[in-house]
């Protein structure tokens, strides 16, 4: 299942149709994920706070998100009078499209992938950067001071954290000798101590911190810091446009959780090879769900950082650490012949 194999073939209606079908399949998977990730998040945080969480809409509250989204869809579409109309409308779309595009390259299991790209991780970085622009546009176009501050914070934050995020992964890339995610996963086969999270423990730590920041989630949720900036860049957004921002945010949760699984937790490999009879997709889902749970857990536990501390952490701590990680990895590969 690889859409890229159609590239060499003549573009017929059949091929185009197949590609569209595959895209719709990914879209459906992600929409279902987002629906239940939100439900899961509210439940998990509810339990951690001695509450029950949503339990009224549908059995066990399972339709809560569906109800919420329908409400957003039915809401009046408001655009502030002083807003920059064109950009205001463009921003949610621009935030949403790259978030879906990044999903194309994720291998869920052996051979279960939309597009097997040889640049793999680089593709993710390139596209997710576009979302930052969307947030800045949203902040600017709303013509609201809070959203402007939120947009600016977001730009500063996402640019700062993209640097350690990318550099922390270089270690994994060096061990596998490839940017292709399939190769990186294959390089981690064996027992669970062959997974990158142990040999690349520094890279893993930096990656997780930077990734949470990229997601604008607690403790790095400054762009939408509720207690300071009310809602940050999406103060003026309501209805479906707001839903799009939320959607893209959760799709990035999906992407980052998948990436962490693939880069550091051995992708679809079982923890010990003897468990190989269980399909790879199950292992992928288990690891993936664990990471998503951890993200929610962190949200229920930690307070928020301050802007200056946030920048300090990125440039003074994470960046040197991740660069150090590259040197150590390189030395290990050269001296002990680690990796491939």
């Amino acid at each position: 299942m690889d859409a890229l194999r159609f590239i060499d073939k003549p573009l017929t209606w059949g091929h185009a149709g197949l590609m569209v079908l595959m895209a719709v399949a990914v879209l459906a998977v992600v929409i279902v994920f987002v629906t239940y990730a939100i439900y899961f998040e509210r439940k998990v945080i509810g339990w951690m706070q001695f509450r029950k969480g949503p339990n009224r809409t549908g059995p066990l509250g399972l339709l809560q998100t569906v109800a919420d989204v329908s409400k957003l869809l039915l809401k009046e579409d408001t655009i502030p009078a002083k807003a920059d109309r064109g950009l205001f409308i463009l921003a949610p779309v621009l935030a949403f499209i790259p978030s879906f595009l990044v999903l194309a390259f994720i291998p869920y299991s052996k051979g279960l992938q939309f597009a097997d790209l040889n640049v793999g991780f680089l593709y993710y970085v390139a596209l997710s950067g576009i979302s930052t622009i969307a947030i800045v546009i949203a902040g600017w176009a709303s013509n609201n001071k809070y959203s402007l501050l939120g947009g600016m914070r977001s730009a500063a934050q996402m640019i700062s954290y993209e640097v350690p995020l990318v550099i922390s992964v270089v270690g994994c890339v060096m061990l596998a000798g490839s940017l292709n995610l399939n190769d990186i996963v294959v390089a981690q086969s064996g027992y669970f101590w062959h997974w990158n999270f142990l040999p690349q423990i520094v890279g893993f730590a930096v990656f997780v911190v930077a990734a949470i920041s990229e997601l604008n989630r607690t403790p790095f949720d400054l762009p939408e810091a509720e207690s300071e900036l009310v809602a940050g860049y999406h103060v003026e957004y309501s209805g479906f446009r707001f839903a799009f921002f939320m959607l893209s945010e959760y799709v990035y949760v999906f992407a980052i959780a998948s990436l962490t699984t693939l880069l550091f937790l051995g992708g679809w490999h079982p923890p010990i090879p003897q468990l190989d009879f269980i399909p790879g997709i199950i292992w992928f889902i288990l690891k993936f769900a664990f990471i998503v749970f951890c993200l929610f857990w962190i949200r229920a536990t930690l307070p928020r950082l301050r802007v200056d501390q946030l920048m300090g952490l990125a440039w003074k701590v994470l960046l040197p650490l991740s660069i150090l990680n590259i040197f150590i990895t390189a030395a290990c590969i050269e001296l002990f012949g680690m990796g491939g």
Partner: protein
Amino acid sequence: MIRTEELLLNVGPQHPSTHGVFRIIVKLDGEVITEATPVMGYLHRGTEKLAENLNFTQIIPYTDRMDYVSAMTNNYVLCHAVEKMMGLEIPERAEYLRLIVMELQRIASHQVWWGTYLLDIGALSPFLFAFSDRERILQLFNELCGARLTYNYMRVGGVKWDAPDGWIDRTKQFVKDMWLRLDEYHNLVSGNEIFLSRIKGIGQYDAATAIQYGLSGANLRSTGVDWDLRKTEPYSLYDRFEFNVITGKNGDCYDRYLCRLGEIEQSLRILEQALEQFPGEGPTMGKVPRAIRPPAGEIYVRIESPRGEIGCHIVSKGKAEPYRLKFRRPSFVNLQILPKLLVGETMTNLVTILGGIDIVLGEVDA
């Protein structure tokens, strides 16, 4: 050279972190505040003026609505002032009940502060932890007087209702549980690295400044000044109990945080002793004339509310209504230092500092 412009930002009155309808106009240079102008009065109801046409029993519910997070202490300060003016004797059982509810109220008030402060700082869970514990106090109050927020419990000369059967035991149980919960508060939050880096050294001032600005309560004690009216000018039965005045050292938000949590501890100590000593029998209402007419003259009494020194100044002409009634509201006075503290701070610290002062808008605007 880049030309930069100051941004005039209107924070409030509908802002999630102004704890009500407080408004503050800040001039921002980037994220740094260059000037801050507080605007208040959105919740002004003219309590003091209204009181001039009401008799003293009728004023009590109005005091509930001033500092609605600690209504019991407000009740007390008015009743105490009138009683002192008229030289009334309060039965011991009533005075114990008053003291117990005031200390419970102090704990409840600090719990609200703790929860909302952490919410300001960005942690979601402590808020629910604090409120679920506060719920038990509200339940106790509910059993006592049928209200959860505006109690209208005290009267000139005593309290309106006696404690129902088993109430003292339930309160004892609560005190026991609260000790454990307090440990949990500390475990969950007090050592958190992010939290500490957010509040240590923020909003700092020294003792002299605090006194100049007339601060009281934890805002004053955090600078190291040993001033708690329960100890310095004991009223009610406070001289019968052993407890410490918690003071800080640096006068920053962290010290204020520790002071308030320490005060919960001390309140629990007082409660333990008071519940032990609680007299089993006795009236809950003293001998009070049918019409409460304080003799002509003036009086000022002050007590320690969870937010600081709450004072009540009554000018009486010998009538059933006060000629003039003035409350010294600690939230209002403590708020004065805010513009001074905010200059040079970031937007994020605005929330930290404002939350650290612990205001209740009902009291600021009265």
